[in-house]
């Protein structure tokens, strides 16, 4: 069986594409065989920090390329943090840029891995996920949500989440806030990985008794609304806060 990835993203209204501070990996919307244990990740770089976009990109590629364990072990972030420092350092900066850089960059990370184990009589398909911060995973089967991770309702979102930092944590425990979760995977399940603005909208819709997964499943399909139109509509009606938005839709088939 395969995981079919379709990725959607849009920068904050009023920001340019180069200011988009979410990140996702892999970048190619195509199918990935479960037997190869494919990984997928999204990240959301913090606005109030410099070089968050770079940090978010390094985290998603680091996870998908298996430089991070699931969950990341103590010390596994260090090489990625060193890479960030090597890319941002070494040139004279104005006073404010130096100060902002000294605070480091921050990002939420959500990583997902599928696996398929063939036994004598059956094949077991499972998934594991790891998260720091407020990017969310939703697993939908038929017409029901069967898992959400790491949040389960719209009240969990604030503007000050616990995020992974690009500088080593003072106590050396960069992975203290990392959570993990796992489940089994069924034929025709859909997984949604979302950054916080979309995830918060999703939970509010569910709490109002609606089925937002149907809207997301139909995006950009024949005759249906595009992701751009969908997000713009929600922003205009104030149903979604103006933020970078990322959605990975992964169909198992």
């Amino acid at each position: 069986m395969d995981a079919y990835l379709k990725a959607f993203w849009l920068p904050k209204e009023g920001s340019t594409k180069s200011e988009y501070e979410d990140a996702f990996f892999p970048r190619s919307s195509r199918s990935y065989p479960l037997a190869k244990r494919p990984r997928f990740a999204i990240a959301d770089g913090a606005t109030e920090a410099s070089y968050s976009r770079l940090w978010a990109r390094l985290l998603v590629s680091g996870f998908v390329r298996r430089r991070l364990g699931l969950p990341p072990a103590v010390g596994e972030l260090e090489p990625i943090q060193r890479r960030w420092r090597s890319k941002v350092g070494g040139r004279p900066l104005p006073w404010f840029a130096e100060e902002a850089l000294a605070n480091g960059a921050f990002a939420a990370l959500l990583g997902l891995e599928f696996s398929e184990e063939r036994g004598a009589t059956s094949t077991v398909k499972t998934w594991r996920a790891t998260a720091a911060g407020d990017c969310c995973l939703i697993q939908v089967r038929s017409n029901d949500i069967i898992n959400t991770f790491p949040f389960d309702d719209s009240t969990a979102f604030g503007s000050r989440p616990d995020l992974l930092g690009s500088l080593p944590a003072p106590n050396g425990h960069d992975n203290d806030m990392v959570k993990t979760f796992q489940g089994t995977c069924g034929f025709e399940d859909t997984f949604f990985l979302m950054s916080d603005a979309l995830a918060c909208w999703f939970f509010k819709e569910r709490e109002a008794g609606n089925q937002p997964w149907n809207t997301l499943r139909d995006l950009d399909t024949q005759g249906e609304v595009s992701f751009h139109e969908f997000v713009t509509g929600l922003r205009n009606s104030k149903a979604m806060k103006n933020d970078d938005v990322t959605l990975l839709r992964i169909d198992i088939a």
């Binding site: 009023g14 959301d44 913090a46 606005t47 109030e48 920090a49 410099s50 070089y51 976009r53 941002v88 104005p94 006073w95 404010f96 840029a97 130096e98 100060e99 902002a100 000294a102 605070n103 921050f106 604030g158 503007s159 000050r160 989440p161 616990d162 995020l163 930092g165 080593p168 944590a169 003072p170 050396g172 916080d196 806060k241 103006n242 933020d243």
Partner: protein
């Protein structure tokens, strides 16, 4: 009643962005009495040093809040009105005479940048000295009377002009840094006039920082005037806006001692925390 009419108006929720910026107006007391020593500490720092330090730290923190790798984003415009021998725009150098400037211009044009040592964690439980650059826009000034009423009047005029151009902005914030003794009348009336201004997102906020010669301990964001050391502190407390609910929530999350009715008033303390109260996007919980 239709559904929209049932939605409760939530003030102080407007997005602060480059397309919809907000503004800060700082009033700095430069009167002769600012040459006196202030506070309960053992040092002999003058109130004028305290005012210069307070405004420089507020501007520094506001600039860093808006700093990104490509430069400073203009989420805010800032104005500084000095009051003492004269009342008027107090920026010097490239910004002289300007009433409101985009925060990027302020960040790029301090009067000078000092080199100072700061204690930082060494990652192993200890502290080490780190050399940091500290921007200075304002030097201590102590000269003339304390025309606070005139200064509040100018602030009102600047904010009115801003609101005419930005009617839907996050409400402007006016921060007055003073030793509290106005010499041109009772400042409560002009302060009321400032607080009556509003954008579609809520009332303009007026906060006061009282730097006093009273040898009394610091007070931060009190909810009543009991315990304030003198009539000037009580008057400045009454002139200060009540902190909006969303600021109270952030302050509580930051571990600050605030309660329902807490006002934007501090006595012999700084107000840098107010910068953290402003939401321009995700702020990591680890960022202090």
């Amino acid at each position: 009643m239709n559904e929209r009419a049932n939605i409760k108006f939530m003030p102080y929720t407007a997005e602060i962005s480059r397309g919809n910026p907000s503004c800060f107006v700082f009033l700095i007391d430069q009167s002769g009495s600012m040459g006196d020593v202030f506070g309960a500490g053992e040092g002999n720092q003058k109130k004028a040093d305290g005012v210069a330090g307070a405004i420089n730290r507020l501007l520094q923190n506001l600039v860093i809040k808006c700093a990104k790798e490509e430069g400073i984003r203009d989420y805010f415009h800032v104005g500084v009105i000095g009051y003492g021998a004269q009342v008027g725009p107090a920026f010097s150098g490239a910004l002289v005479g300007r009433q409101l400037v985009p925060i990027s211009e302020a960040g790029n044009s301090p009067a000078r940048v000092d080199q100072r040592n700061k204690k930082v964690s060494d990652g192993a439980g200890g502290l080490v000295d780190q050399s940091v650059r500290f921007p200075v826009w304002f030097e201590p000034v102590a000269n003339g009377g304390t025309p606070m009423c005139q200064a509040l009047g100018q602030a009102r005029s600047v904010v009115e002009g801003w609101l005419a151009q930005h009617p839907n902005c996050f409400p402007p914030i006016v921060i007055n840094i003073t030793d509290g003794e106005a010499t041109d009348g009772a400042p409560t009336g002009p302060a009321d006039e400032v607080r009556k201004l509003k954008s579609s997102d809520g009332d303009v906020l007026l906060f006061n920082i009282h730097l006093s010669s009273q040898r009394a301990g610091a007070v931060e964001y009190p909810s009543n005037e009991t315990g304030l050391p003198d009539q000037f502190a009580q008057q400045l407390f009454r002139m200060s806006s009540v902190l909006p609910e969303y600021m109270l929530n952030i302050a509580r999350n930051e571990g600050m001692s605030v309660s329902e009715g807490s006002r934007g008033f501090v006595f012999n303390a700084d107000m840098v925390a107010v910068i953290k109260f402003l939401d321009i996007g995700t702020r990591p919980s680890a960022l202090r």
